[in-house]
Structure formats: C-alpha cells, structure tokens
Symmetry: C2
Subunit: 416 residues, 2 copies
C-alpha cells in the first residue's frame, strides 16, 4: 500500500485522515479521480504555460537545475515525468510512487487545496550548448532570440545563484504548496538533473485590482501590459513561429534576484525616493500627474527647463516610450532570506547584519534582444535605483509553448 | 508633510492612492484614527502578549537583536518606541515619523489589512548579564527559571544564528506584513540594538480545526494543550508570581531553527517514517490506535513483547506521560531558505545542493527547567528523528507578561 497510488488525491488522503481510517484512502484509486476539480485549480494544459499570464499568486518558489545526464533519452524521461507530475500537482493530487510500495509524495500538503498552483518550465542555454559541447544534439535548434545574457554594469552575480540548464517556477497562494511542487519535481529528477539555486518569494495580499507594493514601498507593475490584451501579448510576450515550433506560444523568462539595501533606502527622504522612481509613493501617480494609471509625460519640464521626471528616474528608463516600444510582462516577487553581514558603503557607515532581502525580478518577453537586454543595459548605467539595488544572480530561460494534453514538456524540441 | 503623520492609517494612505489625491491622505490625521478597527486585527494590549495563545497565523518573521547601548535609559526609550509602534502596527497603522518631515514608515504594506499581525517580545540572557557584566543593573531580577540553555547532544549551533539579547516575533497571515513589522522595529532600534539573526517561517493554510503538517509530511501539534484550557495554560504555559511581577502572565520561549535533511527523509519507507514518529502519516493516529486524537498507549506491546510505539519514537520522548507531566505550547513554523551545498552522510552519498529548509521550532512554557530542557535532553540522545533533524541555532527568551494600555514593554522590570 503506497502513499501515492495513482488516483489518490490530496482530498482522498484527507478523507482518510478525517475519518480515522488510516490508510483506507490510500487505495482510493479512481474514486478520488472522479472528485470535482477544486475551485482554486489553475489549468496546466493549454496554448501557453500557466504562471505567465496567470494573475500573480501570493507565493513563489523558483528553482534552477543543472542537467547531469548525457543522454537525450533521459531528458525525455524527465520531461515526461515532470509533465505527468505537474498536471497532477496543479490539481491538488499527489505524485504517484514507482510501484515499489514506498511512498513517493511527501504528503506535507495533504489536506491543502490546489491553491492556484502553477508550474512554469524553462530551458537554460545549457540544454543546447554547455562548455562548448552540444550534449544532446539540440544546438541547431536554439532560437536566435535565445542569446546569452550579457554582463551588465553593476552586476554582482554569485555563481551559486546564477544560471541553470532548466528552470521551474512554482507559484501558489500557499507557500507550502509552492515548495512542495518543486520538492516533488526535484525528486523525480534524481540522476538526471539536480538543483542549482532556488529562491522563495512573496507578494502581499493587496486588494483585487490594486497594484502590489514591493519592499521599497512603491507600487510595482503599474504599466504592465494587461494579460487579457491578446494583441499586445501576441506582439510582445508570446513567441511566434520565429523560435521553432516548440517555442510557439512560449516566452523568454528573465529571473534575477536583486538585493535591495533596504536600510539605505529607508533613510532617504520621501522626495528623493519619488524622484528616483519617477512616481509618487502613496498614489503611484507619475510625477506631474494625479493618478496611478496616468501616462507619464517624459517631455514635461519645470520652470527652469529641467525634466519633471528625471533623466535617471526608474520609470523613464523602463518606459516603452524610451525603449522603441518594447514591452515585457513583469511578474516579480519580493524575497526575504534573513540577514547577512554588510559593511555599509554609505552614511552612517554602519557595519552589522543587514536584511538579505529584495526583489526576485521576473519578466517575460517575446525577444530579450528587444526587451530586457537593451532596457536593462540602459538602466544598469543610469538608473538612480542602482544605489540601492544589486542584481546578484539569475538567468535567461526559454519557456516553451503550452503543453497539450497527451504531450509532454519539450516533446516537440526533443522529437527533432 | 510626512508619510507617517500620527493618525494616518494604512487605510488612510490607501484612500489617498485610490482617489488619486496624491498626498492628501498623508495629513488625514485623526480622521483615519476614527476608522473602525479592521476585522482581522489582533489586540496588542492584554494580560498576556499576543502571538502565544493566538491561533497560529500563516507566516512569521522571527528576529533576535543584540543590545549595543550601555544605558538603562536607552532601554526604556527603545521599549517605549517599540510598544507604541507595535500597538499601531497590529491595528494596520503606520509608524509615525520623528517630525523632521522625513517619512518613517516604509509604506510597503499601505493597502494591506492588519492580517492578524501579532508582535511578541522576549528578553534574552544578555539583558541581565553579558560577558559576566551586569550592563543595566538588572542581574538581580533574572528569574531562577531563566537559565542558560545547555548544549544538547547533536547541537550544531551556528553562532550567527544563535542567541540575542532581545527577540521579536512577528506573526501574520501575510508574509509582507510580518516582515514590515520587524523592519519598522529594527529602524526604531537604531543606535540601541541591532539585528543579530532572523528567520522567516510559514505554515500551510490547512482547514480550521485540522492539525497542520510540517515539511516531514506529518501532522505537527496534535497533543498541544488547548490555548482555551485556562487551568492547563496557567499551570504549564503562563508564568506566575515566581518570576517577579514583570513576568507574571509571561512565558519562556524556545525558538530554534532545526534543519531537516528532507532529501534523506524523503527516501525512507513509509513504515520507517511512521515508526520514527510513532504515528501514522496520513491519519496522524498514534501507532496502535485509529484516530489522531486518541491517547497514545506507550505500554502496549506486540506479540513478541516489543513496544508498539518504539522506545525511540518521537512522540514517546515528547509525551507528557514520559516527562513528569510537563507540557509546553508548540507554535512552530516551517522554513525554506533555499539551497546550500551538502555532502550527504548517508546513501546514496550524493554531493550537491540540498534544501536549506526545516522547522523553526517554537515553544512556550512556564519553566524551561521542567519542560523543554529535560524533554529535549532525552530527545537529543534517543530520538530516531535525530538522523534527519539538526538544531542549528536559536535561544531561550523570557517573554514578559502582557502589556497594559498606558504601560510599555518591560516597564515593570526597568522600574525596579
């Protein structure tokens, strides 16, 4: 009798626990499969991977893996197992065992709802070429847009928190559900891939329709394209035929943990913070405007002829108007890793433990050569925020198009 | 105009943002004070500190501080500021500025509800004696029960994650609200105390009345005393007159991050996991019983005369029946700090990144000499779980009795 017989759902497990029939639910089998879907389950299969256009959940667990296998057959095995598991996990079901009688699913989410879990997979450059070697015969299928990220000004990338051959981002309204998903997928990868780096993230439970605030206290994401705006999403976020059939409907993901010197930022006057951002802190309005959603006027000048929104203001450098119309879909989370020792490089020059916290910057786009790379290249040189924000890791990942029922992750790529 | 004029509440801030009247709400003053209390605010003042008997929230941020001041007057200033701020924060209000016109509150929770925020303060041994020195003239008032924690078998305490002169535990249903509270309190401590270590924690949103599962997949807290059971709470959890007037209604807190080798645990067979715990995984029933809440039978033996619940089972060693009737209130959270490199000391002897995750073990008791210390002394020697669980830091803190309106944290101690 296994904890994770096919078909036993989390609710099946729970039923057994509640009735006291220890183990009875473990063989519930197809009965649980027939249970109506939970109201808070996000569909896994579809034209796009879930977790990109999906309204942001409250928690994330992002993980990057290194591939340790040398064979394409192992890749297919892994992607099949991940697909099957992800489809179950997002429905709130457990991950089946291997039939040996040993439990597979860790069961720490038994009794929890799907919690809007999404699992978004990405391929790193190492799937195509690593150390100059075409390990899996896939180098020729690497899309032109899937370039290596350049080193940006000010980057302080920690090797142990950078790169990865595969990415898995689990997002859910419950922190435990998000962690559980990655934990199960990591176990399924045994012998084929291993965890390289990971990062938890959260966002406050702001009211529906309200733009969430990040740890700097400003609203973050005001000018994001609406995920419901199909023409904009198709033009700017979803990859078309140019990436090869396996990338159609996919997107390129930049995920970079950016540490914020919160203690330093918190000592700045309100007016300075607002000039740095180019927005008012409380309302979120662009400077010179009244409402959060007002379009910033980057041409406006004050009586002395100085720009109302500074040349080095964050929103100017990020704006589509200043970036040849490029747009990307930001879907960032705050992170909080506790404390680490810092010798401050600013007054009052304090030495001691400082918050190891910031933003897990996450954005999706159709072509990073048009969006993140040129945009962040300028920001990395000029953004006033750079005094407070340091990118410390991460990478660029190609997230394939959505997975159809009966298909597995990357199948169209591996079949080539 | 300050972000944090007295009386401007988070809802006041939000109102300004929503109406587009940037800054208008910043001087809302007493208007916001008159706003009815949010439904999800926990009372700060009372006979006991909140966050002990309070039903556990979904998130925690635990922080320990080192005192850097040499004067008792600074202590009083800090505790006054912390009391005033905590009373406001738990109502969802912002922390006032110092009148200089600079913002104080970081505003990252503007628009969020109180989220059942509680802030629980504790005093470490260093408040009384540090490095043999009675820094604040309080050594004589250290309660007899407030001993130094011994070094337990298997302890692998990291100095940077151990100890502290003061503890602050913020718990809330929103991760951002919990972090914000500690961040504001840390800022108020500037020049008097500084952060030493901290740890985030979470618990899944299990159904009401259901015992939550920790990362080992087992229900955690089944035999906890009911916080509503006044006689048990008074006998085992709340300190009486024996601790001095400042500790009446208080409790001693043990907070210790315990790393769990999840990869190792997850490879164990179900039957072994259950023997280690002494309970069934899914139902939570003690071995030999049917229901989670059944009292374990520690005398029962099988046909061969072996105990049904192993001598080394976790629940036997933790049980009040085996510990002279001692009880403590456990209020632990899971934690997830990402990954760190581990060379496994068990098959398959893998080397690589492993989950830096586990349990932020938290318990409250009237006298640690009767509860945690003897109980954990035995567990540290015999518990089968020790193969998987390693305490890596933490400490013992004296949490004073509840704060009355008009009084400040520790006032009765400092007034001596």
């Amino acid at each position: 009798m296994s904890l994770s017989d096919r078909g036993a759902s989390r609710r099946g497990f729970l039923g057994g626990a509640l009735t006291g029939a220890a183990g009875a639910a473990l063989v519930a089998g197809t009965r649980a499969e027939a249970t109506p879907l939970a109201a808070d389950a996000e569909p896994f299969f579809g034209p796009h991977q879930a977790g990109i256009a999906t309204p942001a959940q409250l928690h994330t667990y992002f993980a990057a893996f290194d591939l340790t296998t040398e064979t394409r057959a192992d890749l297919a095995r892994l992607f099949q197992a991940w697909t099957e598991a992800a489809a179950r996990l997002t429905l709130g079901r457990s991950v089946p065992g291997d039939g040996s009688g040993a439990p597979f699913d860790t069961a720490d989410v038994a009794g929890l709802s799907p919690s809007r879990l999404t699992i978004t997979f990405g391929f790193g450059p190492g799937l195509f070429v690593k150390d100059g070697k075409d390990r899996y015969g896939l180098a020729a299928r690497r899309p032109a847009a899937f370039v290596d990220l350049p080193m940006f000004k000010g980057d302080q990338l920690i090797p142990e928190r950078t790169g990865g051959d595969l990415s898995v981002q689990a997002c859910a309204d419950d922190a435990q559900v998000a962690f559980h998903a990655v934990r199960e997928l990591a176990r399924l990868a045994d012998g084929i891939a291993q965890l390289r780096w990971s990062q938890t993230g959260f966002v406050g439970a702001f009211q529906p329709g309200e733009t969430p605030r990040n740890l700097m206290g400003f609203k973050d994401g005001t000018r994001n394209p609406a995920a419901t705006d199909a023409p904009v999403m198709q033009e700017h976020i979803w990859v078309g035929p140019e990436g090869g059939d396996w990338m159609v409907g996919g997107s390129y993901l930049v995920a970079r943990p950016a540490r914020i010197s919160l203690e330093h930022w918190d000592r700045m006057k309100l007016a300075f913070q607002e000039q740095s951002m180019g927005r008012r802190k409380m309302s979120g309005a662009p400077i010179g405007k009244s409402n959060e959603t007002d379009t910033p006027d980057f041409e406006a000048t004050d009586a002395d002829g100085n720009p109302v929104i500074a040349e080095t203001a964050h929103i100017r450098l990020a704006a589509r108007e200043q970036n040849n119309g490029a747009q990307m879909l930001r879907r960032s989370y705050s992170y909080n890793n506790g404390l680490s020792f810092v010798a401050e490089r600013w007054p009052p020059w304090r030495q001691g433990m400082a918050f190891d916290a910031g933003l897990l910057f996450v954005c999706y786009q159709r072509d990073p050569r048009r969006a993140f790379i040129p945009m962040f290249d300028r920001m990395s040189r000029f953004d006033m925020m750079n005094q407070f924000v340091t990118h410390i890791g991460g990478g660029l990942f190609a997230c394939p198009g959505g997975i159809r029922k009966g298909e597995f992750l990357g199948q169209r790529l591996l079949a080539a």
